[in-house]
């Protein structure tokens, strides 16, 4: 049998982390370009995404491990619960919606789909056997870039959320930044 040249699970983890970064950047683009401030449930969906990123980060740093997949599944289920709750809040016709739609769906609906895909992707990762022969590792520079980008984005979310919500709680329908209103 021909030996695999790369660790597929490691590459897919890196791809997943790049996907999480893309989603967090898209959420920021929506927040700043259209002044669409995230609601408390929207922020909790970002928290869940950061939780998924933590599991992927563990995979990249320490190699694929059941603990990392467990963390990803728990974070995705949490995110799906939050997004599902928000979908149900607006599911009845005439009950309104939160924010502007993107490609025909609201962000919380995309989020619900996304967390479903994370669960599916994690199942696929779990199906991939560990390579028996030595494999070519991911370039260290790529790993470092992905890791520090997602760590930076999560820290940036801490700052912007504080500016928006203050130390305690965001209003249900935020229209301005707490820090600039005082």
């Amino acid at each position: 049998m021909m030996a695999r040249r790369v660790d597929i699970a490691e590459w897919l983890s890196a791809l997943g982390l790049a996907g999480v970064i893309a989603v967090l950047v898209t959420a920021y683009a929506d927040q700043f370009a259209t002044h669409d401030l995230p609601c408390p449930l929207c922020l909790l969906q970002r928290v869940a995404l950061a939780g998924v990123a933590y599991g992927l980060l563990l995979n990249l740093r320490f190699g694929p491990h059941p603990q990392a997949y467990g963390i990803m599944l728990l974070a995705a289920l949490f995110g799906m619960g939050v997004a599902g709750r928000q979908v149900l809040l607006h599911i009845v016709p005439g009950s309104g919606a939160y924010g502007a739609p993107l490609l025909g769906l609201h962000l919380y609906t995309w989020s619900f789909i996304l967390f479903g895909l994370v669960i599916l992707g994690t199942a696929v990762l779990l199906l991939i056997p560990r390579p028996e022969a030595p494999v070519r590792p991911l370039p260290q520079g790529l790993k470092q870039a992905l890791a520090w980008t997602v760590i930076g984005l999560t820290a940036l979310n801490a700052i912007t959320t504080f500016l928006q919500c203050g130390p305690i709680e965001c209003p249900d329908d935020p229209v301005s930044y707490w820090a600039f209103a005082h």
Partner: protein, 51 residues
């Protein structure tokens, strides 16, 4: 509170990435518990559903 959760997650990621997996997991667990409590705090509106 949500900003604190993000901060804890960023710390957990940094700790794990710098090699301290155990400390990262502990900080992550605290963030997860706070997230669950904060979600429970926010899901107070009754759903208008009919089956």
């Amino acid at each position: 509170m949500t900003s604190l959760i993000f901060l804890l997650l960023a710390c957990a990621m940094q700790l794990a990435w710098l090699g301290n997996r155990r400390a990262g997991n502990i900080v992550f667990a605290v963030a997860a518990a706070l997230s669950a409590a904060w979600l429970n705090h926010h899901i107070t509106d009754p759903l208008k559903l009919a089956f």
